[in-house]
């Protein structure tokens, strides 16, 4: 008897509204408010009408004076529009880490370092009360839905920092939302009943696509605030003078492929056993005319080449890497024998990229480069066992390892724990060292997925795209200001699990905390206090990660897996 298929309604984009309490009336009110009232609703496609974008991709938020709206350094996938009241952006100097709910950067002192000799006997996950009291510079309020952190001494903040007021109609956070870069400033509410509209990136992308004025505004902001400095820091543009750089910046186009919420999809697929998500939108297809070089600004992309009936991964690119320079240079030098793109490029998860058009490259950029800075000519058809030169990976780690790293998204790790099983004696010195360094609490599991002799242990990788940081309501999880490690401030962690749920690699654990006598800490209702914990890369310790230093056989390292050269060297040591 043939099996009867289960019938269910096909999931739609707007099954889950961004703001659960957004109503039709609220959407109508927004339609009558600037800048939406100036938008031509007819220009929006039927599948994504303006009203539905406002209804399902936005939410209304109210802030009281002093409440922080966005923090400098946080990652976010939404932009904000002030509807009513005012907000204030902190310009110079930036607010202290304590004011943002973070822990002060710095190493442990001599006494605290030595105290670890006897702290090992402490009960697991135990804290003193002082360790869990947040800085007096901030306070927190909780309503039914959100936790809001506010600045306690607003007059002092205004005195000590240069700030600028923002008013109704002002947009902010759009660059961070569209490019998945950290927020560049802290913004807090400046009036008692500030009403803001938060627009998630999907909605913002649709609005930009269909409204010329908003697109022009964001383009202008992007070019002014982000593009010039980025291009200046990119090696192939470094020989350009200001005028040339301005011309290039004017011609560069930016776009985003894939889905910023890749981690959720990936986690669901990984948990269901279907590890390989097939949603990899093509940025460049092999054989296309090379109409510009692609600069990856954020996210990741897979370089592949057709082979037989399928495609074979050759490499992956991360932020700062370039695709297509070989072909463009070849065609510029050999106009009579042009080549098309030799490889395909697909976004893995998401990729935010800039495209410098061929014309600009040929007229301005390529002539400025020295001969030895130009890539070699492209051969008629490069074999798939040759590394694409634009990746910079000269030695291949092997197709199997490459597939493994790509499928598991390990290239996201800037400090992944890589173990060479050929040398690892399973002595657990690394685990013991981690526990000793963290008051008797190991912060990783010496186990994880592997391929051949390579294992990636279950430890925080301090990702290039730290999705765990998105949505932390108090800023407790943050990047350390010096080294960029992702760390958690236990004093401001409220145990909401947002980071643990977001982490696609299950590297964050929620633990019930205890006092120094091993008794559980509870709140007024008797519920256990829960905190998020994870590897902090021994940020406060001298000498670097204890796990790596404790391995007697050189079998464990913390490594940026976006650098295949380093991995190859390490594996061939």
């Amino acid at each position: 008897m043939p099996a009867v298929p289960t019938i269910l309604e096909r999931p739609q984009r707007w099954d889950a509204a961004f703001g659960p309490d957004m109503t039709d009336a609220a959407a109508d009110r927004l339609l009558a408010t600037a800048p939406f009232r100036e938008m031509d609703a007819e220009k929006f496609p039927k599948r994504t009408p303006l009203r539905d974008i406002l209804r399902y991709d936005t939410r209304l938020l109210r802030f009281r004076k002093g409440e922080i709206i966005v923090r400098q350094g946080d990652y976010g996938t939404s932009a904000f529009l002030i509807l009513d009241g005012t907000a204030r952006v902190v310009l110079q100097p930036a607010l202290s880490p304590a004011s943002l709910g973070r822990q002060a950067p710095g190493k442990k002192g001599l006494w605290r370092t030595l105290a670890q000799l006897w702290n090992g006997a402490r009960p697991p996950e135990s804290f003193s009360l002082e360790q869990l009291i947040p800085s007096s510079e901030i306070g927190a309020r909780q309503d039914e839905r959100d936790v809001r952190v506010f600045l306690q001494d607003l007059p002092r903040v205004l005195d000590a920092h240069r700030t600028e007021q923002m008013r109704a109609g002002d947009f902010f956070g759009e660059i961070a939302a569209l490019s998945r870069m950290p927020r560049t400033s802290t913004i807090f509410a400046d009036s008692d009943e500030a009403e803001l509209l938060e627009i998630r990136w999907q909605g913002l992308r649709e609005l930009m696509k269909n409204d010329n004025a908003l697109r022009a505004h964001i383009n202008k902001t992007y070019r002014e605030r982000a593009l010039a400095s980025y291009l200046r820091a990119t090696p192939i543009f470094q020989r350009l003078d200001e005028a040339q750089l301005e011309r290039v910046a004017g011609a560069v186009e930016f776009s985003t492929f894939g889905d910023y919420d890749w981690s959720g999809d990936y986690k669901r697929l990984a948990q269901s056993g279907a590890v390989r998500p097939e949603k990899e939108p093509a940025i460049v297809t092999e054989g296309d005319y090379p109409n510009g070089i692609v600069l990856l600004r954020a996210g990741f992309a897979r370089v592949s080449q057709k082979t037989g009936g399928g495609e074979r991964t050759l490499n992956y690119l991360g932020a700062g890497q370039i695709f297509g320079l070989n072909e463009i240079t070849h065609n510029w030098r050999n106009p009579d024998a042009p080549v098309n793109f030799q490889f395909s490029l697909r976004a893995i998860g998401y990729a935010h990229l800039l495209v410098a058009p061929t014309r600009v490259m040929e007229e301005i950029v390529l002539p400025s480069l020295q001969k030895n800075e130009l890539p070699p000519p492209v051969k008629a058809k490069q074999s798939f066992d040759v590394d694409p030169p634009e990746t910079g990976a000269r030695e291949n780690v092997g197709a199997e390892v490459l597939e493994f790293l790509t499928e598991n998204r390990f290239f996201n790790g800037t400090a992944a724990m890589v173990i060479d099983l050929d040398r690892c004696t399973r002595c657990d010195d690394c685990v013991r060292a981690c526990a000793s360094t963290h008051d008797n609490n190991p912060r990783f599991l010496r186990h994880g997925p592997g391929v051949g002799r390579l294992m990636i242990a279950n430890a925080c990788m301090h990702c290039a795209d730290p999705v765990c940081m998105i949505g932390c309501p108090t800023g407790a999880i943050h990047r350390e200001s010096f080294g960029g490690q992702v760390v958690i401030n236990p004093a401001t962690c409220i145990g909401c699990k947002s980071c643990a749920n977001n982490c696609p690699y299950d590297a964050i654990r929620m633990v019930e905390v205890r006092d120094r006598t091993a008794e559980l800490m509870v709140d007024q209702e008797g519920k256990a206090i829960v905190k998020a914990t994870k590897c902090d890369l021994c940020v406060g310790n001298y000498g670097g990660p204890a796990c790596q230093r404790a391995c007697p056989h050189g079998a464990l390292t913390r490594m940026n897996l976006n650098n295949l050269d380093a991995l190859t060297r390490w594996l061939k040591k």
Partner: protein, 272 residues
């Protein structure tokens, strides 16, 4: 030159130079210095203490006092050099007297267990990686127990209904699944017990019904998984156990050495 090869090259080069120098100095000073045995004894004791410090380093991972890997390299090459120092201290003669013989045996056992540990730690990880199926040692009992429960369910459970398989399970597999098996044979890479069990299951498959074949297929998989766990247990246990020989012996050696020093100074005429 690759990193590990460079490490070995420099380690061996330094050991060679130190050995030649030590032998040269020994030949020159043995007769020239009146308290030569005291001098070599103190040097030997110093070297032994430095070797012991490696264990202390392991207990202090949070202090910036060098990588464990570097310490281990020093421990290995200094360990070999200490054997030479020991022989020089003995004047390349066999010890005499009950106490000195015990001390020499302890030294030999500590050195021997160290060399054995070095060989094991270079050979066994590779074998574990080649076999695959990485598993945390502490989880092996729980995983074994789960396999046993699954095998019992297949062979003896409500849906089983095969007296032949039930009998085979009781006779051949119950013991196999009941706990760790074939530890020594795994160490020497013998697959004899596994092959015998698989052959037994294959024999049954030839004459079994379709339902029995499916059960036997499942049992074969479980047997292979259990064998893999036993393999990991055997090799990982060996990697852990050798330290339980090396370290207590080291402490014993240090105690006897301390006594030796006291005795030597108590009867200092005997040290010459």
């Amino acid at each position: 030159m690759k990193r590990f090869r460079r490490q070995h090259f420099w380690g061996l080069a330094v050991l060679l130079v130190a050995t030649v120098a030590a032998l040269g100095l020994d030949a020159h000073f043995r007769r020239a210095l009146p308290d030569y045995a005291f001098l070599t004894g103190w040097i030997l004791l110093g070297a032994m203490l430095v070797l012991t410090l490696y264990n202390a380093r392991k207990k202090l991972p949070f202090l910036p006092i060098g990588n464990s890997e570097t310490w281990l390299q020093v421990h290995i090459y200094l360990g070999f050099f200490t054997v030479l120092l020991f022989l020089i201290h003995l004047n390349f003669r066999l010890p005499h007297g009950q106490f000195e013989i015990t001390l020499a045996w302890l030294f030999a056992l500590v050195s021997g267990s160290g060399v054995a540990g070095l060989i094991l730690s270079r050979v066994l990880p590779r074998r574990l990686a080649t076999r695959g199926g990485e598993v945390i040692y502490e989880k092996i009992p729980a995983l074994s127990h789960a396999l046993k429960a699954e095998a019992e369910n297949v062979a003896l459970g409500a849906g089983a209904r095969s007296p032949v398989i039930a009998e085979f399970y009781a006779r051949r597999l119950a013991g196999f699944f009941s706990g760790p098996q074939n530890g020594w044979l795994h160490l020497v890479e013998s697959r004899r017990p596994l092959n015998a069990l698989i052959a037994g299951l294959d024999d049954l498959r030839r004459t079994g019904s379709d339902a029995e074949r499916a059960m036997l297929e499942k049992l074969t998989t479980l047997v292979r998984q259990k064998d893999g766990l036993d393999y990991h247990r055997s090799l990982q246990l060996t990697l852990k156990l050798w330290l339980f020989v090396h370290i207590p012996l080291t402490y014993g050696l240090l105690i006897f050495t301390a006594l030796h020093v006291v005795l030597v100074f108590g009867f200092s005429g005997g040290a010459r």
